[in-house]
């Protein structure tokens, strides 16, 4: 608190930024526009309740044989 009180009594030094060409050339890069990034992949959104989404995802990954089999053996075809 004492530091805050002391700080409140300090004079504030103002710095005026020049807006001439020389100053502008110090920061010569400009943002021309902003765009949305392009999609790299199809990006299919799964809709529904959280449980419905979970079931759909399990179904998709199961179809791709990406889950462990019950015996813990990889589903992947050899080779």
């Amino acid at each position: 608190l004492s530091n805050l009180l002391r700080a409140n009594k300090q004079e504030i030094e103002s710095i005026v930024l020049k807006n001439d060409d020389n100053e502008r050339q110090r920061f010569p890069e400009v943002m021309v526009s902003m765009v949305m990034p392009q999609k790299v992949r199809a990006g299919r959104h799964i809709e529904g309740t959280a449980m419905e989404k979970a079931k759909k995802l399990v179904s998709i990954l199961d179809a791709k044989a990406l889950f462990k089999t019950p015996a813990g053996i990889n589903n992947e075809e050899p080779g």
Binding site: Q25, R26, F27, P28, E29, V30, M31, V32, S33, M34, V35, M36, P37, Q38, K39, V40, R41, A42, G43, R44, H45, I46, A50, M51, K53, A54, K55, L57, V58, S59, I60, L61, D62, K64, L66, F67, K68, T69, P70, G72, I73, N74, N75, E76
Partner: protein, 346 residues
């Protein structure tokens, strides 16, 4: 008066460590070639250090671009002070339009200071280059990759800090080797003494060999939620848990599990991004994945641009449900496969 041989439109600063070129150097060469319509004669590569003969010759052979090696006695390791001072001296009198540095731990260290020394423009994190007639637009990710900012340099010189992996040199192209010339420079450390650089003992074998990678990002919220990520990974064989830089920096995962520019690149059959925003630095490390599932609460997260399947959910709610859904399906399949149930249908 400058000789014709001294005139280059673009200078590339090579990145090397432990006597070897870093792959970012070739990405920079690809960027510089694109910048100069494929003309290597408009480009020069500068390489600084003590024992740089091998890397200098290698890059001249692989890119076809002229290389200037600046031999600095005693500079065994990268030093920001040395790079900034020597490059500023080397480049201040030259009419170079573009100076290209890598957006890695070295480039982001010295390049902005070099731009300040040269009174140049500075654009960091460049991921794309667009040409509109004579105008060049440098593209960079902002807002965590949700938006791309198109930047231009209307006048003067620019230091361009390029995101590794954004530009690739065509490895099949056959080129005549560039010339390699040499000069020497002296550097006496003043404020900064580099004592040594020790390589991490990280072993990335686990995640590079995995068939399924489950990755945790900042969106998982707390370290305790890593248990959910680990549990999800157990559903898959040959699986591994990985993370974004922030997750590894926080110590929620060891550094050898970090995927991205400063970690490792992975190419699993399945990549599940949990609470990963999709920042370029991370995405560059997982683009080789066969199938990508992204789970994030933010429907505008950049990771959804990189995913095959997008799920807008909180992983703290969704992963337990996913585990439950898997268990239900597993139980159903087990019933169907049990002896005596062959005719149970379904």
């Amino acid at each position: 008066m400058k000789s014709q041989a001294e005139r280059y439109n673009t200078v590339v600063i090579a990145a090397h460590a432990n006597g070897r070129l870093l792959p970012e150097t070739f990405d920079l060469a690809a960027f510089a070639l694109k910048l100069n319509d494929g003309c290597p004669r408009s480009i020069r590569i500068l390489i600084l250090g003590e024992a740089i003969d091998g890397p200098a010759v290698e890059i001249a052979e692989k890119t076809g671009i002229d290389v200037k090696g600046i031999v600095i006695a005693g500079l065994r390791n990268y030093s920001s002070e040395a790079y900034r001072q020597i490059l500023a001296r080397e480049l201040e009198a030259k009419e170079v339009a573009y100076i290209c540095a890598p957006h890695n731990s070295q480039g982001t260290d010295y390049a902005p200071a070099l731009a300040a020394s040269l009174n140049s423009a500075c654009i960091s994190g460049i991921t794309g280059l667009l040409k509109n007639g004579e105008d060049l637009i440098f593209q960079k990710d902002v807002f965590g990759g949700k938006i791309k900012a198109n930047m231009a340099v209307p006048v003067g010189q620019a230091v361009l800090i390029v995101q590794p992996g954004s530009f690739r040199l065509d490895s099949g192209r056959k080129v005549a080797p560039g010339r390699v010339t040499w000069s020497t420079a002296r550097h006496t450390p003043k404020r900064l003494h580099v004592l040594g650089i020790r390589q991490s003992e990280a072993d990335f074998a686990d995640i590079t060999a995995a068939r399924v990678v489950v990755a945790a990002g900042n969106g998982i919220g707390e370290q305790e939620n890593m248990a959910l990520i680990n549990e999800l990974a157990t559903l898959f064989s040959k699986s591994a848990v990985a993370g974004t830089r922030i997750v590894c920096d926080r110590g929620w995962l060891p550094l050898n599990r970090q995927v991205g520019v400063t970690g490792v690149s992975v190419s699993p059959a399945l990549y599940i991004a949990c609470g990963v925003s999709g920042a370029t630095q991370h995405v560059m490390g997982m683009r080789g994945a066969g199938f990508v599932v992204a789970i994030n609460t933010d429907s505008h997260a950049a990771i959804f641009n990189e995913a095959d399947i997008c799920i807008v959910e909180d992983i703290r709610i969704f992963i337990p449900l996913l585990l439950e859904a898997w268990q239900q399906r597993h139980n159903k399949n087990a019933v169907h496969q049990a002896p005596g149930n062959e005719e149970s249908g379904g």
